[in-house]
C-alpha cells in the first residue's frame, strides 16, 4: 500500500500533467505575464504578488475548480506495480464479462449492418449536407423509416448478463450465505449498510434541512428554504465548485440549479466550448453514421413519447449526434471498465493501423440512452451548454450504469445494494416477491439504469440528481429504488404475479420527495404510522425515507 503522502504526490503529478497544455494553462500564463506590467508588482516579492493578483482576478478560483474536476475523474491511485488495466477494473472475472458483453454488442451491431446493407459510416453528398444544415434545428420533423432498426440492446438484456455474473473463487465453495441466494446478483461486493450510509450521507439525516424533501427539522421548512436560496445565490456568486457541490447535497432551488450544476461540473460556455460544439456539428453534417439511426430510433421510442420531454426532441438529436462524434469522450475509458469498440476502415481492412474507434466517442447507445440527456434540456437553452453539461455528467456518472465493474458506484454494486437494502429491511416483502417470481431487481433495474430519468416527474428527478452530484455517487439511486418498494410495500404484499407487481410500480410520477414551493403548506410526515412494513428507523438518514407518496 502507498502511504498517504506518496499517494498525494502521485495525484498532484497526475493533475499537473493533465492541466498542462490546457486552455486554462495558457490563459493563466498570459494573465501572469500581464501582471508583470502592473506597478504594484515588485521584483523582490514577485511570486507572491503575482499570486495575489491572480487570486483577486478570480483566476485562482478557476484553477481550483479545474483541479477539483480532475480529482473527480482521476482514478484512485493503484499499486505502482499494478498494470494500468487495473485502474479500469481490478477483478478478472468482471473484465471478462465486460469483454464478452462488448463482443455481443458488436456482433449485434455488425449483423444489423450486414442485414440492412448500411455502412457504419459514409460521407454525406453535398445536397444532403445542405439539407441537414437547414434542418438542424428541426430534425424531429423528419420521419425517416426506422422500422428496420432495432436498439442494439435494452436494459433487460443487460440485466441478464449481470445476473449471470459469478465469482470463480466462490463457485465451488459450499458456504454461500443464505442471503446471497435470495437476490438475482450472485457476486459478493462490498456495499454499504445503513449505519455506513449514515456516515456517508450525514446531510440527509432527518435533522438536516432538505430542499425538496419533507423534513422533521426544528426549523420550519419555508424558513429553511428562503435561507437556503440565500446561501445558494452566494455560492453562485463565489463561483466555487466545491462549495456548490456541498450545497447541492441539500438540494438546489429550481431557479439556481442550472448555474449550480455547471459550477459543480466545471463546465463553462466559453468561446472554446462553443467552437468545440460547432466542430462536432460540422462532423455530423459531413458524415452519416449507422449509430445516428439508433439515436433517432431511441429518441422516437423514448423521449418523443414522454409526456414532458417530447418538446425537446430536436435538442436531443443535436446533443446525441454531436456526442457520438466527440473523441474527447474516449478519455473516460481510462477509468471505465469498458473498452471502446474498434472497426476497420474498409480500404485497408485487416491491418492493425487502420482500426478506428467506432462510433468516434466509443459509446454505443442502447434503448433509453437519450433519457440521460432529456432532463437536462429542462435546465439549459443553448445547445452548446447543454452539450457540455451532458458530456460531463456522462463521463462522471452515467457510463457506470452500463459498464460491468466492481466499482462502488458501478451498476453491479448498485443492484446489489438495492437487493441488500430490501433483504435486510423488508425481508417479508422480498421473500414474498421472490416466491411469486417477481424478483424486485427485475422491476427496479430499468429505473437504476436510467437513474430514474423518465420514471420520476422532472422536478423530483432533478432533486434526485442534485444528490448524485452533491455526493459524487450514484448510490442514492439504489437507495431510492429500495424506497419505492418500501412505499408501495403494502400493495406489493398483496400481489401474486410479476405482472401485477409491475402494475403496482408502473407509475412513479406521483411520487414526491417533497413539494417544495414557497408559500404552500408542506405535507405532514403522517405516512409512516400507516405503513407496517416501513421501518422508519432503519432508513431514517436517507432522503428517500421522507419521500411523500400520495398513493399510500
Amino acid at each position: 500500500m502507498l502511504d498517504e503522502s506518496a499517494e498525494l504526490s502521485v495525484s498532484i503529478t497526475q493533475i499537473v500533467q493533465r492541466l498542462k497544455g490546457t486552455h486554462l494553462h495558457s490563459q493563466l500564463e498570459k494573465q501572469a505575464k500581464e501582471c508583470l506590467h502592473k506597478p504594484e508588482i515588485k521584483l523582490e516579492t514577485l511570486k507572491d504578488d503575482v499570486r495575489r493578483l491572480l487570486k483577486a482576478s478570480g483566476w485562482e478560483r478557476k484553477l481550483q475548480n479545474a483541479v477539483y474536476r480532475e480529482l473527480h475523474i482521476l482514478p484512485p491511485p493503484g499499486h505502482p506495480r499494478a498494470p494500468p488495466e487495473h485502474t479500469k477494473e481490478p477483478l478478472a472475472y468482471m473484465c471478462k464479462a465486460q469483454v464478452n458483453w462488448e463482443k455481443r454488442i458488436l456482433k449485434s451491431l455488425n449483423s444489423m449492418c450486414t442485414e440492412l446493407g448500411i455502412p457504419l459510416a459514409r460521407k454525406r453528398p453535398v445536397p444532403e449536407q445542405k439539407e441537414l444544415t437547414n434542418k438542424w434545428n428541426e430534425m424531429g420533423t423528419d420521419e425517416p423509416d426506422l422500422s428496420k432498426f432495432r436498439p442494439v440492446y435494452a436494459p433487460k438484456d443487460f440485466l441478464e448478463v449481470l445476473v449471470g455474473l459469478r465469482n470463480p473463487n466462490n463457485e465451488r465453495s459450499e458456504d454461500l450465505t443464505v442471503r446471497s441466494h435470495w437476490g438475482l446478483i450472485q457476486v459478493s461486493l462490498n456495499v454499504r449498510n445503513i449505519p455506513q450510509m449514515r456516515e456517508m450521507y450525514p446531510e440527509l439525516g432527518l435533522t438536516f434541512g432538505q430542499l425538496g424533501i419533507d423534513d422533521h427539522t426544528h426549523v420550519p421548512p419555508d424558513l429553511f428554504e428562503s435561507e437556503h436560496i440565500h446561501i445558494g445565490k452566494k455560492v453562485v456568486s463565489e463561483q466555487d465548485s466545491a462549495a456548490a457541490q456541498q450545497y447541492s447535497r441539500q438540494g438546489c432551488p429550481t431557479g439556481l440549479r442550472a448555474q449550480l450544476w455547471s459550477l459543480i461540473l466545471n463546465t463553462t460556455n466559453d468561446p472554446e466550448d462553443i467552437t468545440h460544439y460547432e466542430q462536432l456539428k460540422a462532423r455530423v453534417i459531413h458524415h452519416a453514421l449507422l449509430v445516428d439511426n439508433l439515436i433517432y430510433k431511441d429518441v422516437k421510442l423514448t423521449a418523443s413519447n414522454d409526456d414532458y420531454y417530447f418538446v425537446f426532441e430536436d435538442y436531443l438529436y443535436q446533443v446525441l449526434l454531436c456526442f457520438s462524434r466527440d473523441t474527447s469522450v474516449l478519455e473516460h475509458f481510462n477509468y471505465n471498465s469498458a473498452t471502446p469498440p474498434k472497426s476497420c476502415i474498409q480500404s485497408k481492412s485487416g491491418s492493425e493501423q487502420s482500426a478506428v474507434v467506432y462510433p468516434p466517442n466509443g459509446v454505443i447507445p442502447f434503448h433509453g440512452f437519450s433519457m440521460y440527456v432529456a432532463p437536462l434540456c429542462f435546465l439549459y437553452n443553448e445547445p452548446s451548454k447543454l452539450y457540455s453539461v451532458f458530456r460531463e455528467m456522462y463521463i462522471r456518472y452515467f457510463f457506470r450504469l452500463h459498464s460491468i465493474s466492481s466499482l462502488p458506484s458501478g451498476i453491479v454494486s448498485l443492484c446489489l445494494q438495492f437487493e441488500r437494502l430490501l433483504q435486510s429491511h423488508l425481508p417479508q416483502l422480498f421473500y414474498h416477491l421472490r416466491e411469486i417470481g417477481a424478483q424486485p431487481l427485475r422491476i427496479a433495474f430499468k429505473w437504476i439504469v436510467r437513474a430514474f430519468s423518465g420514471y420520476l416527474s422532472t422536478d423530483q428527478l432533478l432533486l434526485l440528481w442534485d444528490r448524485i452530484l452533491g455526493y459524487d455517487s450514484l448510490e442514492i439511486v439504489a437507495v431510492l429504488a429500495a424506497a419505492v418498494f418500501a412505499f408501495r410495500a403494502e400493495n406489493l404484499m398483496e400481489v401474486t404475479s410479476l405482472a401485477s407487481a409491475e402494475a403496482v410500480l408502473a407509475d412513479l410520477s406521483t411520487l414526491k420527495m417533497k413539494e417544495s414551493h414557497i408559500g404552500l403548506e408542506l405535507p405532514e410526515g403522517a405516512l409512516y404510522s400507516k405503513d407496517p412494513y416501513f421501518v422508519q428507523a432503519a432508513f431514517s438518514p436517507m432522503n428517500f425515507s421522507i419521500m411523500h407518496d400520495p398513493r399510500s
Binding site: N137, E138, G140, P220, G255, F310, D314, D459
Partner: protein, 501 residues
Amino acid sequence: MQVVFLTFSLTRAPKPQPQTWTGQHEKFIPAGILPCLGLSCQDKDCTPYPRYNTTVPLRDNYPPRQHSSLNPTSSVLRTLDRRHRTRREGRNCIRYRCGLTNTIQDVLNQRPGWVEVKEDGDWDFNWCDVGWLRENFDHSYMEEHVRICHFRNHYELTRKNLMVKNLKRYRKTLEREAGRMEAAKCDFFPCTFVLPSEYHIFVEEFKRSPGSTWIMKPVARSQGKGIFLFRKLKDIIDWKKDGSRSEEQKDEAQVESYVAQRYIENPYLIAGRKFDLRVYVLVTSYIPLKAWLYRDGFARFSNTRFSLSSIDDQYVHLTNVAVQKTAPDYDPEKGCKWQMQQLRCYLTAKHGFETVQTLSKEIDNIFIRSLLSVQKTIINDKHCFELYGYDILLDQDLKPWLIEVNASPSLTASSQEDYDLKYRLLEDTLHIVDMEGRLTGKEKRVGGFDLMWNDGPVYTDVGLEALGSSCLVANTHLGCVNDRQKQLQQLLKPFPGQKKT
C-alpha cells in the same frame, strides 16, 4: 296525467306553506311533491315520488312539496327547498341534469348522493351547454338553491368581438377615471377589430404597420375552426369572395362576423415550439365579483416548429388541441401538453423565481381586468356560476397576452393525465358551488382553487414566508403544487350521510 296530478294536489292543498319559503317568483304552489323524482335513485332515504298513486297515506313529516306549476308535464322547473329538507332528514339527494357526455358526466355520476334526472325531470343542478341555456333559460323558473353552469349572457366575455368591445370600453373608462397608467394595465390583448363593422379602422391600422401578420377568427366559433393568417389585404378580399368555400361556410359568412387581430410574432418558444396556456377561472358571482383560479392547467404545444415564414401552415400557429388533432402527423399517443406545474418549473429553471412570480401576477391581472370589464354587463344571477377556460400566450419578453376566453372549455380529455386534471377541476368546481352545504363561504382555498378576487384582491394569510416582508402576496398559485386531496380533507365536512375516511 294532469287530472291525476290535480287530484293529488287537492288532497294536499290545505297544508300551510312552510316558513322557509323565500323565493321571489313563485305563485301559490301546493306542497306535496317529494324532493327526488329520479326513479334511478339508489338512495334509500329518497323515496320515489308516488306520482300516480293518490292513495298513498300522507305522513306529516314529509318535507313540503314544492313545484312552480300546476302542470307537471311542462318544462318548467321544479325543485326542492334544500335547507328545509336537510333540516328534516339530515341528508340530501341532489338531482342533476347534464347536457354533455364527457368528464363532467363522470364527475356528477360518481358524486355521492347525486342523481341524474331524465330529459324533462326537475333538477337542482344543471351542467348544460350554451345552446340549452339560450333556449331554456328565460322560460325557466329557478329556486334559490338551484345552480346552473352559465350566466345568461356569458357571451359578453366569450365571444371574441364582444370581449374586445368590453375591454376597450373598460380601458376607456379607466383612462378617464384613473389615468393613463391604470388604463395601460389593460394592454394585454392584441390590437383587434371586428369585421365587417370596423373594417375601415382596421384597414387604417393595417396600413400603418406594413408587413405585419394578422389573424382572422370567426367570433363565435371555437377550437380553432375557421381561423387563418394573412399579411396582405388582398388575402382577405379574396377570402370574402372566395367561391371555393363550402355552402355551409358561405351561409354562415352572411351572418358570421370575424375579428382581425394583430398576430403575436414573437411568441415565447420552448425548444423551438410555440405554445399557449389554458387556465381555468371559476366565477361564482359578478356582483360582487368573486373569482377563483385553478392551480392546474396546461400548456398546449404546436406540433411543428415555429417560423413566421411558414404562414400558410396553420398548424404551426395554432396551439388549439382541436386543430392540432387534425394535423397530418398528429400522434395522439404523444400528446402535446405540459401540465402547468411542469411549465412553471421550466420557466423558473430558466428565468428564476422572481420572474415567474411577476409573470403570474401579470396573468392574474388579465383574469381580473377581463372579468371587471364585463362585471356590469353580465346579468348577475345567484343561480349561475361559470367555469372559464382562458387562453393565454406568452411572448419572448414573458409578457402574457389574452387570446380568448371560453365559456365551455373542452372537457373532453385527450389522455389519462388530461382526464385526471379535468376530473379534479370539475370536482373542485362542484365543491365550491357547494350544493351539499359543506363550506362556510369564507374559504380562501378549496381544493385546487384559490380565491383570486372577492370584491377586491385576495392576499394569502400572513405565513412564515411573509415575515420580514411587509408586502402582500397574492392568493393565487397558478402552476404550483396542487395538494388538493389533503386540503379538501381538512376543509370539507363529509358528504351528508358519509363517514369521513
